[in-house]
Symmetry: C2
Subunit: 583 residues, 2 copies
């Protein structure tokens, strides 16, 4: 008789094989027995304060480790997480969402059980989840369940997007094949075609004849698994290399040909003109939402761009379907004549780079302002650190901070759900801790996660500070207190009550959330104070959660779209007048 | 030319006419211009810390005032609220969910805007919301929008369930008929039928010939608008009257013929036997989920029960469709021969009632335990107060507390989403404040909202304490610290790590959330300490938020299903052993 194992064991061990070492989630009565198998499978149970936060954390974890997973309970739990799942879909974060659901007999008998609409319909939640996942598996039959799990994980990795697995209570301990688990998960394979071979030749021809080429990396490259290839291309050719906001943190920013984020008219003229004059822009993993493209200002010229996506290549306006980046990009890069490519920029163009300025260049008593703040943040960073900027002023601001080697960075670029970043920081810090433990983060032995987060965002998901404390993660939270939703004030209603928030005593957070009264907290209102705080050994070399509250003017925004919007708001709020007519 | 007003004004004024005086929600870039019209329409903007909390709060508000409303933003905002909306659907709380969505041209041109999946599809979120609402209106045409708003609100009130309204940014200031707003909203009308008249006669015949009748009120009665009629029936007949957990707080519990919640075998034998012997059980607004019916233990005998629902009457096992309670119940009760009915119980049966015991009957140094705790809580309550027990031990425990006149009570009975109660308490307290201000809560001048909430639940939505503080609501939070998810420990995994939570310093919450360092906090571990705390003037007659942390044993549960489950858990956890096989 072939050996069998329990379904739950299969599920968790299979996830572990793909790199999941911690499961986020919240217990609920339909997933309790399932959770019995998490720790025995060798995984860590995180236990977030709520399911939305668990979902955000798994997303953050997946952006560092390449896959994440959450377990929620039927109805109440999974619906609370759905915004996080939709965000993972939008921004291609590979998260496996496992839901413990009522037993098969309970469902088949349409029992009017709790966590339902009390109408015998058990399908509504799965219908909702299907809108935001690339695969859905309902494990109803032990004979097919292991294969279904494999298929879900396969789709998750293939699309780098969330999938949904329902585990009925009575299926948790169903027996499935142990032999299958011993075989590595079969990923989706690629079948080369003649069309693709022709395309490779055409692209190489363009590369080898280009006079002014640019490399532009966007964030979908992460899920496509082509970042390393592009990094090699950038290094071997020495061609000017840019990223988008979505891709920041994926490339080595210490390289001399790295020029930060391409921002179109929101960046410096030299870069914008260089893009205009380019005769070839190699664009990898494009993700041109209006926000990631700076309101379409940073779209590369389609006439000169070849872009490589999940399953299509756009060759200077010609869309070639079924030409996947994952297959093509490494092939192409492998064949580049690097000696020839290197000759293209015999004289390297004069292009701007993001810079860090020393504190000595800023008056110590100058109040913190966005125009200077992000230029000094780089002083604090070390190799291997993670920098994160929450949606809003911190996201835009943090994009100009040059990163040291092996540092990582991410921010929402399209989903823009405020509140995301604190749980995501927890997930990212935990993922990094695991990578270091497994010696998978080069030679990095320590990594601090720096989160810059606005007050309004912080209020949304504040309780995840407790998860950071509980797991003693190396996280420095910089609370940007600017008195409300400044990002919304930039857009509309600068002085309106709905953009105000309640007044918290933010630095009481660590003690409240269990960090102990001696937990490190500090305040900074000026650049001098900021320098002092970040030079404090208890902050820079401390353990666990550290928290710093910095104060910025309510209506201050970093250069870029938000700054421009705010200028319009400051010039006069047309809506207020219009509103009065009906009042 | 007929007078017109802006669409947003129409919407908010229409809501105000139905009793909405405060709008919960969170700003987002697609609802900002919409929010400009909230305060000018005479409404209060609440500004919750996140959208799930806003949804829960609007639900709590609606249970006190008969309608509630939230405004969220497209995608990220509305999805965060969806669990609350689904809960409102499940438990028939009438909440109008208004979502600010991208402009019509933006949608029609499939712009790859933020808060989307970046695929030009703007319909996904509405599809998800449609699963949990009874009406959905997309305001796309000024000529029909006012009517669509009316229809949504009408359906919301008719079903006492949530509805969904999408307002594109460019529709906010569209002009609609002012005249329409001057006419009261037309509610769904009832057309009497001969069938229904015959049914009235049949029911009256049963009522007039009953020898052992019982009145049983369930919670759907609230949305059906029949509570007052049933209260009159109970008073005028003097018949023994019971409620379910869902209906607790709707009737006057000081009446001599009120006997609390019918719990079947989980209650006292005298009540269970009385139900068995009854020859007529008049059941109003039944909601027999497994949880509200104590695992089906408290279902009235179908042979002797006539139950009145939204659109059907079940006459002793015969289902009569299109026989709505809202029409039938007042008609029937009006025609009851009360003189005759009063004679039925010439000798009133000896039936148990919930009681409050004085503190003098409990040793002052006895540690707090569920078996006694809920019997002393009644000592604290005053007429007009609200008592709330969060899902878990507090929900089951609080159900036996006898309520003074005009006191209100509610708890989740089917949706059971932990975390619901703190925001719901905020909403309920605010609604009550408004009722008092409008002299609509009888002669009540003050009302305190007592929330008993477990530590695990509290962690889910803790930030709404700040909203309570910000609006200076009269709320007493009793944090039941029992070291984790005791409700889950009762069900499975008593000692498992996944039922643990992070250790917070709960009483630091008020100061953290802005209540000021002098905000009232206290601790109680024994009954003596509890008495002292609740007798403290600063607590009982204080202002704004007060918070008390009480300690209960991790594995203690109130009598009822949870206690029984815990006994099974204590007897030995079979799963642990089974689990080891694979480990």
């Amino acid at each position: 008789m072939p050996e069998t194992i329990k379904l739950a064991t299969y599920l968790f061990k299979r996830l572990q094989q793909q790199g999941v070492d911690s499961i986020h989630g919240v217990p609920g009565d339909f997933n309790l027995t399932l959770l019995d198998y998490v720790v025995p499978a060798g995984l860590r149970w995180v236990g977030s304060a709520n399911e939305l936060n668990a979902g955000y954390a798994a997303d953050g974890y997946s952006r560092i480790k390449g896959i994440g997973a959450i377990v929620t309970t039927f109805g109440v739990g999974e619906l609370s997480a759905i915004n996080a799942i939709a965000g993972a879909y939008s921004e291609r974060a590979p998260v496996v969402h496992i839901v413990g659901v009522p037993s098969r007999p309970m469902q088949e008998n349409r029992i009017l059980v709790h966590h339902t609409m009390k109408d015998g319909d058990f399908t509504r939640f799965a219908q909702a989840q299907a809108l935001f996942t690339v695969a859905q598996e309902r494990l109803w039959d032990p004979r097919t369940s292991a294969e279904q799990i494999d298929e879900a994980i396969r789709q998750c990795l293939h699309h780098s997007r969330p999938v949904y697995i329902e585990v009925p209570v009575d299926m948790v301990s169903a027996q499935v094949s142990a032999e299958r688990l011993a075989q590595p998960l079969q990923l989706i394979q690629h079948e080369p075609t003649r069309n693709q071979d022709r395309l490779i030749t055409r692209v190489l021809d363009k590369i080898h004849t280009a006079k002014k080429p640019i490399i532009l990396l966007d964030g979908e490259s992460r899920g496509l698994g082509i970042v390393e290839a592009v990094q090699n291309l950038s290094k071997s050719t020495g061609w000017p290399t840019y990223v988008t906001g979505f891709a920041k943190g994926l490339l080595d920013e210490t390289q001399p040909n790295f020029h930060g984020i391409y921002k179109g008219r929101f960046g410096e003229d030299a870069s914008a003109n260089f893009f205009k004059d380019a005769d070839l822009i190699l664009c990898f993993g494009p993700h041109f939402s209006t926000t990631n493209s700076y309101g379409n200002a940073a779209l590369p010229n389609p006439q000169t761009t070849i872009s490589f996506s999940h399953n299509e290549t756009i060759f200077q306006n010609q869309v070639i379907r079924d030409a996947p980046a994952k297959y093509l990009v490494p092939k192409i890069i492998q064949c580049v004549d690097t000696a020839k490519a290197k000759e293209v920029y015999a004289i390297y163009p004069d292009l701007p780079r993001d810079i860090t300025i020393p504190f000595s260049e800023v008056p110590a008593d100058a109040p913190l302002t966005h125009d200077r703040l992000w230029k000094v943040v780089g002083n604090f960073l070390r190799p291997g650190d993670i920098l994160m900027g929450e949606t809003g002023t911190s996201s835009y601001g943090s994009r100009i901070v040059p990163l040291p080697l092996h540092a990582r960075y991410f921010t929402h670029v399209t989903w823009l759900s405020i509140g995301y970043m604190l749980p995501a920081a927890q997930g990212a810090a935990m993922a990094t801790q695991e990578l270091i433990k497994a010696s998978k983060l080069d030679s990095i032995k320590n990594s601090r996660t720096f989160l810059f987060i606005g007050d309004g965002s912080f209020q949304m998901t504040t309780q995840e500070l407790a998860t950071i404390v509980r797991h003693n993660l190396d996280v420095i939270v910089v609370l940007v207190n600017n008195n409300g939703y400044t990002v919304e004030r930039c857009i509309h209603g600068k002085d309106e009550v709905y953009n105000d928030i309640s007044a918290w005593n933010y630095l009481k957070a660590p003690a409240f959330f269990g960090a102990g009264d001696d937990s490190y907290t500090a305040t900074a209102r000026t650049f001098g104070e900021l320098e002092k705080v970040f030079d404090d050994e208890k902050l820079k070399d401390g353990q666990g959660l550290r928290m710093v509250e910095i104060f910025l003017d309510r209506d201050d925004a970093p250069n870029g779209p938000l700054f421009d919007y705010m200028e319009v708001q400051k010039a006069g709020n047309g809506i207020l007048q219009e509103k009065d007519e009906d009042a």
